[in-house]
Symmetry: C2
Subunit: 199 residues, 2 copies
């Protein structure tokens, strides 16, 4: 933990706009990189292996799980997702952004108690439903399952350090980048880096 | 404390550039107002009574002190300065920014344990000395006293939540405004405001 980069965890119910937020924040903030997870689900259009995810087979995934290489892994909507442990210890000066669900966030917090947990919420449940329907990706059954999962995830919000309401993209981005920059100014972190201005 | 605006405390050794930072941050961030202190020192050129300070006589000041109207008051470089208690309880949605020294910051923290303490530091002690000499406001004796005070104040930095290094004005402003916006996203504050997005 000592002298390592900061671990930022972002969770959100699907449809809260997390993917766009994360893509934009990585473009705007320097010294921040995305933690690439492993998954067994097939790539969606535009997703790149080794950039968005490491796409692996169920067998490959389970082999890594047995070797204890994951912070956490879980089956979500049928597919396996896992966060490699090594991603939690970035070099000093390079912070890492993890995109995981509340259950995974809890595991991260156990290994890195100084991890910063951010929850993205839609402006309302009605708006979330509207967005899920609008993107026309999911069946009616999928939408219901996602809404039910969203309600469960929202119950976990107390675990998180920050809540960002994604009402309007630019607003949400400003809050999100503010959280990252502010955390870099936390006294204990600045002092660990060495007090340049000390006599 | 419940449902009140956030109290931000900013401290800095003189010459760290605090005054400029505060003026700019108040222009840029909405819902943030400056806590006007009382002082017995004469106004400096450009300072306005009731805006920069309430300028009062030593007698008026001591009367208020006796009535317990100050969070803290102190004699600094010969003059009396006091922060009125009522400034610590702004209305919800209006945050307040206090400009006080580490001793005062400690008193604020006792009345408002949720106050957010920010310390502005110069890039180095050499740079601080250079800035103090450059502004040509102080005698050699003043400069030495200010440098000695700065060293004492820097020892108090552990009391603070955040450290902002004022190397370059725009950088420092970005960090400072990030801290303010990030604090507004803290889970306990968002939850107190009511969970709009809750089912």
């Amino acid at each position: 933990m000592e002298g390592k980069g900061i671990v930022f965890v972002i969770s959100a119910p699907s449809g809260a706009g997390k993917t766009t937020l994360i893509r934009e924040i990585l473009r705007r903030i320097s010294g921040l990189s995305y933690s690439i997870s492993y998954t067994t689900r097939p790539p969606r259009p535009g997703e790149v292996d080794g950039k968005d995810y490491h796409f692996v087979t169920e067998e490959e995934f389970m082999e890594m799980a047995r070797e204890g290489k994951f912070v956490e892994w879980a089956r979500v909507h049928g597919a396996l997702y896992g966060t490699p442990k090594e991603n939690l210890y970035p070099e000093p000066g390079t912070d890492v952004l993890l995109d995981i669900d509340p259950q995974g966030a809890k595991q991260v917090k156990e290994l890195r108690p100084d991890a910063v947990l951010i929850f993205i919420v839609p402006p309302s449940m009605d708006e979330l439903e509207r967005r899920l329907r609008e993107r026309k990706k999911d069946s009616e059954e999928d939408i219901r399952r996602r809404l039910s999962n969203a309600r469960k995830e929202l119950d976990q919000v107390g675990l998180y350090d920050y809540i960002v309401v994604n009402d309007e993209l630019e607003n949400a981005l400003q809050y999100l980048s503010s959280i990252i920059l502010a955390e870099r100014c936390k006294t204990e972190r600045v002092l660990k880096e060495g007090i340049r201005w000390r006599v």
